[in-house]
């Protein structure tokens, strides 16, 4: 099997955000709890964005950098989400059309709560390893609003796209991973508009899975040490404080570090992975891949060995390794993710509440809708100033139509033959 890895990675954190401190103040939440949350900004989708448009916007910079010949080698497109727009037809069909990919392409959608993005990445890498070519994996979500709860400040929206092929950014270690999975009731979405969360059970389950998946990983090779074998770590990030708590608990439980050394280890190996999540929030299926992008962009060139832990409620988890290649850190750091996050428009709480009220108008199951793009002109203009973004333009008879916008104007990508 040939060497396979991440050829390119990009993230999209919406066109607008709300400051987490503003949410705490407006909702009357206890500010002393914000310390353990470690969130700064929360990405907010517009009522003309769904998981398809988020996915296409995330993938655009990657696709735009490929020649037509290279684009035609993408033989698999997987969208990982729990915010699908149809129970049968996958979101990848719409994304495939928006990105102008070849018709000689395998399309499907995967679901396993927040583990779905990594499940898709591992599956895509195996396919590419066996049959060659490239695969595009896009993971993202839009949460159901939990207004007024302590979950609200960390509920993000967005997507992460990964081009799987030559290991230009990072090599995937395909022949080794550790899993720990079993049925439990910590998180589920039994209806499109309802998230059921047992937060305490979910935190304990996450920790057990980190412990169990790493133990399985260590057993399936020449041994591995959680501290010594990895220069950096990227983990599923429901909220950054969760990652800090899980790291502390597992390292302490197993005696891998003296208590006094745990904070330094977190700062040195984990904090870089939380830079994007702190600015976006939890994007569920895409959460671990957002942490991966953040870690690669914000660690030093000598931090090559990246340990990745993915967890999805319900539950499934996996620990695996990436080896960041020379130039890989710089490639992701210069991809423009930080700049795009800074270009987003800051919303007032009143604007944010108006958007939350309008989001159900374009949710899964809606038959007809005509989103008013002009209503969100400021955010769209800012986000599309330097690169195109995809937006939902209409739903007619359950079928969704999309448009690309660039510089605030409708824009038509070059067709790929």
């Amino acid at each position: 099997m040939r060497s396979v890895g991440i050829e390119a990675i990009h993230a999209y954190g919406c066109t607008a955000f709300v400051d987490v401190a503003d949410i705490f103040a407006a909702r009357g939440l206890d500010g002393t709890r914000s310390g353990n949350l470690m969130m700064h900004r929360k990405a907010v989708p517009l009522p003309c964005e769904d998981v398809v448009s988020l996915a296409a916007s995330a993938a655009w910079p990657i696709v735009a950098a490929l020649s037509p010949d290279e684009l035609s080698t993408i033989r698999t497109l997987i969208v990982a989400t729990e915010s699908g727009v149809d129970f049968s037809k996958s979101a990848s069909t719409y994304v495939h059309r928006l990105l102008g990919l070849s018709r000689n392409c395998r399309l499907f959608e995967v679901k396993q709560a927040c583990h779905a993005g990594v499940a898709a990445l591992r599956s895509a890498a195996a396919l590419v390893g066996h049959e060659g070519g490239r695969a595009l994996v896009i993971a993202g979500d839009i949460p159901t609003a939990a207004r007024g709860t302590y979950a609200e400040p960390s509920q993000g929206a967005g997507a992460v796209a990964v081009l799987v092929g030559e290991p230009r950014v990072a090599e995937l270690v395909l022949d080794r991973s550790g899993c720990h999975s079993y049925e439990t009731a910590d998180f589920s979405r039994p209806r499109a508009d309802l998230d059921l969360v047992d937060i305490d059970l979910s935190l304990l389950t996450y920790i057990e899975c980190l412990d169990g998946a790493f133990a399985d990983y260590a057993m399936r090779g020449d041994g591995a040490h959680f501290v010594d074998s990895f220069d950096a770590l990227a983990m599923h990030t429901p909220f950054p404080g969760m990652v800090k708590g899980a790291h502390r608990t597992v390292v302490r439980r197993r005696g891998w570090l003296a208590p006094a050394a745990i904070e330094e280890d977190f700062d040195r190996r984990v904090a870089a992975s939380l830079r994007y999540p702190r600015m976006v929030g939890n994007i569920y299926s895409g959460s671990t891949l957002l942490a991966v992008a953040s870690a690669i962009a914000h660690t030093a060139p000598e931090q090559e060995r990246l340990g990745v832990f993915s967890y999805g409620g319900g539950c499934a988890s996996e620990f695996f390794a990436l080896r960041v290649q020379p130039g890989g850190h710089a490639a992701v750091a210069q991809a423009g993710i930080d700049q795009a996050l800074e270009q987003r428009r800051r919303l007032t709480i009143a604007e944010y509440d108006t958007i939350l009220d309008a989001l159900p108008q374009v949710a899964c199951g809606v038959q007809d809708a005509a989103p008013d793009l002009d209503r969100f002109r400021h955010a769209i203009d800012a986000a599309s100033a330097t690169r195109p973004i995809a937006l939902l333009s209409a739903i007619k008879g359950y079928h969704r139509g999309y448009t690309w916008m660039k510089g605030g104007q409708p824009w038509m990508p070059e067709p790929v033959m």
Partner: protein
Amino acid sequence: MTEDSVFRVVRTQICEVMDGLRPDDVTLDDRLADLGADSIDRMDVVAGAQRQLGLELEPRRFAGVSDIRSLVATLHAALSEQSRHPGGQAVPR
């Protein structure tokens, strides 16, 4: 170990995690959230108490735990199972 001993372990953990809280502030009828503990604090209390008691319980054992009394009862029951089955796991998996 008696339930009261388990309660003292839990109470010590709560005071370690929650700055400014004294042992006398904690009663069996309190809920951790009412004492000001957020989800990370609660996780630290449960993990720390298990560490002190030599337990590693399956997370679902804590489903339905609503107050300190039910947390203590869960930990005490697990310790009792462990003493009845020495050398075995407290919870079959």
